[in-house]
């Protein structure tokens, strides 16, 4: 291939990236911003958990549980106008929290590393969704692996006509601001940061129950991932599908790391990764470049942040706690 042809190829790929991500208002509002919503919400949750020294890498599973809960609410509860949508998201949060709560319980009671348990729960959740959309929740014609559409009332309103941007963007920004306020301005936020910075010092003060703070951080981040899953159903797909998340739970880790675990910076980082992912999808559509390349780029972003920010040393007190508890 001549250099000219290579250049033309590169130009075509970049053009496809541009068109897919920010090149038109429909790409930006219907694609990129919609994709940023779960990344912001889960990214904030991951930031809170990591700040407390808890390695929740189960966002993917907690999201799936939230999506299941929102679907069940949207399919079964009678319509109560706007209350339906609120109920869907509340149940989604509870489902995500319960799913993370299993990991918290296993850790607290039985000393199981949350790194292992949250990962295992991801696989259980994915198979649970597959089971539901091929079994009890399958649409009436029983042909497609998906649920029926949820009630209109349970759907999140679209923000403006002609685009798919839904009310979830406002919720996502509110979550980020709320988490920032919580960390910076409340006593509980201070305790969370103290436990993450130095669990032994936090415990020595006698005022902090490090185990409980860490468990609450894990459950809270699960609730946020659950809300993100609920919003995917209530705002985007209107039905439960397999693979409802294209890896948001893992991308959110990249988002949180790039934001250096700061909730407000998560918004910018999520937008950046949403552009990267929708751009990659555009490249796949128009230039035949596989979109999974985005996952590799996100990994490189995590590694770059980790390499260049020596100050971001998270204390994995969990691992220490487990071994101390286990030593006879």
């Amino acid at each position: 291939m001549t250099e000219l042809a290579l250049l033309a190829d590169a130009a075509r790929i970049l053009e496809a990236f541009w068109h897919g991500s920010v090149g038109s208002s429909s790409a930006f509002f219907s694609g990129t911003l919609v994709r940023a919503i779960p990344l912001i919400v889960i990214g904030v949750g991951v930031s809170l958990a990591f700040r407390a020294g808890v390695f929740n890498i189960g966002g993917e599973g907690q999201l799936a549980l939230g999506a299941i809960a929102a679907s069940i609410v949207g399919l079964t509860l009678p319509s109560m106008s706007v209350l339906s949508a609120i109920a869907a998201l509340v149940f989604a949060a509870v489902a995500g929290a319960v799913w993370a709560g299993i990991a918290a319980l296993l850790r607290h009671r039985f000393g199981v590393l949350e790194v292992i348990s949250t990962l295992m729960l991801n696989f259980v959740a994915a198979n649970l969704v597959s089971y539901l959309v091929r079994g009890p929740l399958q649409e009436p014609s029983r042909i497609y692996p998906q649920s029926e559409l949820i009630a209109e009332a349970a759907r999140l309103p679209r923000l403006w006509m002609g685009t798919r941007l839904h009310f979830g963007i406002a919720i996502a920004v509110a979550v980020a601001v709320g988490a920032w306020w919580f960390l910076a301005r409340t006593a509980a936020g201070f305790r969370l940061r103290a436990v993450g910075a130095s669990p032994t010092a936090a415990v020595v003060t006698g005022r902090v129950n490090a185990g409980r703070v860490a468990a609450m951080a894990l459950v809270g981040s699960g609730a946020l991932a659950g809300v993100a899953g609920g919003m995917e159903v209530a705002g985007v797909t209107y039905a439960l599908y397999e693979n409802i998340s294209p890896g948001y739970g893992f991308s959110a880790i990249a988002v949180a790391m790039l934001a250096r675990l700061h909730p407000l910076r998560v918004i910018g980082a999520a937008l950046l990764f949403a552009i990267l992912e929708t751009g990659a999808l555009g490249m796949q559509r128009d230039a035949g470049v596989p979109a999974v390349v985005a996952s590799a780029l996100e990994a490189v972003a995590i590694l770059a942040v980790v390499a260049f920010s020596g100050g971001l040393q998270i204390k994995s007190w969990r691992l220490r706690g487990a071994t101390e508890a286990a030593t006879p």
């Binding site: 390695f55 890498i57 299993i102 296993l106 009671r109 039985f110 000393g111 199981v112 590393l113 790194v115 292992i116 348990s117 990962l119 295992m120 729960l121 991801n122 696989f123 259980v124 198979n127 649970l128 597959s130 089971y131 091929r134 079994g135 893992f250 880790i253 990249a254 790391m257 470049v289 596989p290 999974v292 390349v293 985005a294 996952s295 590799a296 780029l297 996100e298 990994a299 490189v300 995590i302 590694l303 980790v306 390499a307 020596g310 040393q313 998270i314 994995s316 691992l319 220490r320 487990a322 071994t323 508890a325 286990a326 030593t327 006879p328």
Partner: protein, 298 residues
């Protein structure tokens, strides 16, 4: 009962890659490093074995080992040399490997239908023992190699000076350093060994089990390997037994398919993961290496 023999055969076949990966991970963890990138090592090894093995038959296993090694070098650089958090780096390495292998595989386009036929080596007489004969004594060569690996690791940890150094670095790195052990070098070696085993496990998945490559075909085996090490209490024999249990749990899906039972397939696929959680809850309080997950103080 006529189905027991094929089930055991499937269980042992399924357990082989798990056993190789978790045996490698157990050595890494004995040195104080937890390798969440094991999943990445397996998928990288699987793809390398598929791509290189298609072009050069016989080069599949070395290619898989090299792919695992490449990820291991990154983990050493970040987590041993630069002392960055092992879990975050490992997660990133898994994402990197899944992204890169997925991209390369899709970019291959049409020539993806290549399949490998695993050669089974049956040991005369022993393989004719009823029920367990074919499961244990009519395996692909890599199955026998996996059993030898467990014995070798047991011998290494228990009977050699280097094994003692490794355990010291995992349990009390400062003391090991004071005793003159180059702790960074020992940890690096432990990570590289585990990653190479992960790559070989991936190669075995392609060459001796599935016969071809599919995106995400590691399907959490690297994560299961980490759970298996904890269940096997960081001991070679325990790890081997736990691998076999999980191989059996994963092989259940074939039984359900062939028997036409009315249990939903998706629920059967859940079993290994639920079993992991239950088993870790019940017996997970083993004696983890005391310095597991911690960077070494300087």
């Amino acid at each position: 009962m006529s189905d027991l023999a094929p089930f055991l055969e499937a269980a042992v076949r399924t357990a082989t890659p798990l056993l190789i990966a978790s045996a490698g991970e157990s050595v890494t963890e004995r040195g104080g490093v937890i390798n969440i990138g094991m999943e990445g090592c397996i998928i990288a090894g699987a793809y390398a074995a598929f791509a290189i093995g298609s072009a050069f038959p016989g080069a599949g296993y070395p290619a898989g080992a090299l792919a695992g090694l490449a990820l291991g070098v990154l983990l050493v650089l970040f987590s041993v040399t630069w002392r960055r958090d092992q879990i975050i780096v490992g997660t990133a390495l898994t994402m990197l490997a899944l992204g890169v292998t997925g991209t390369l595989f899709r970019a291959r386009g049409t020539e993806t239908a290549l399949t490998f036929e695993p050669a089974v080596v049956a040991i005369p007489l022993l393989s004719e023992i009823p029920v367990v004969g074919r499961a244990l004594f009519a395996q692909p060569l890599v199955g026998y190699a996996a059993i030898l690996l467990v014995v070798a690791i047991w011998f290494f940890l228990r009977r050699t000076h280097a094994g003692l150094s490794l355990r010291a670095v995992g349990d009390a790195p400062e003391a090991a350093r004071a005793a003159g052990v180059n702790v960074e070098r020992v940890r690096a070696a432990a990570v590289l060994f585990g990653s190479v085993m992960g790559g070989i496990a991936g190669a075995a998945l392609v060459l001796a089990q599935a016969g071809t490559f599919a995106e995400n075909m590691s399907a959490g085996r690297g994560f299961l390997a980490i759970a298996i090490v904890a269940l096997g209490r960081w001991k070679p024999i325990g790890v081997a037994l736990a691998s076999l249990v999980f191989g059996a749990a994963m092989a259940l899906q074939f039984v359900v398919q062939s028997m036409g039972w009315s249990i939903r397939y998706e629920l059967v696929l859940m079993i290994p993961y639920v079993l992991t959680l239950a088993a870790l809850g019940a017996f997970g309080r083993g004696v983890a290496p005391a310095a597991l997950g911690k960077p070494i103080e300087r």
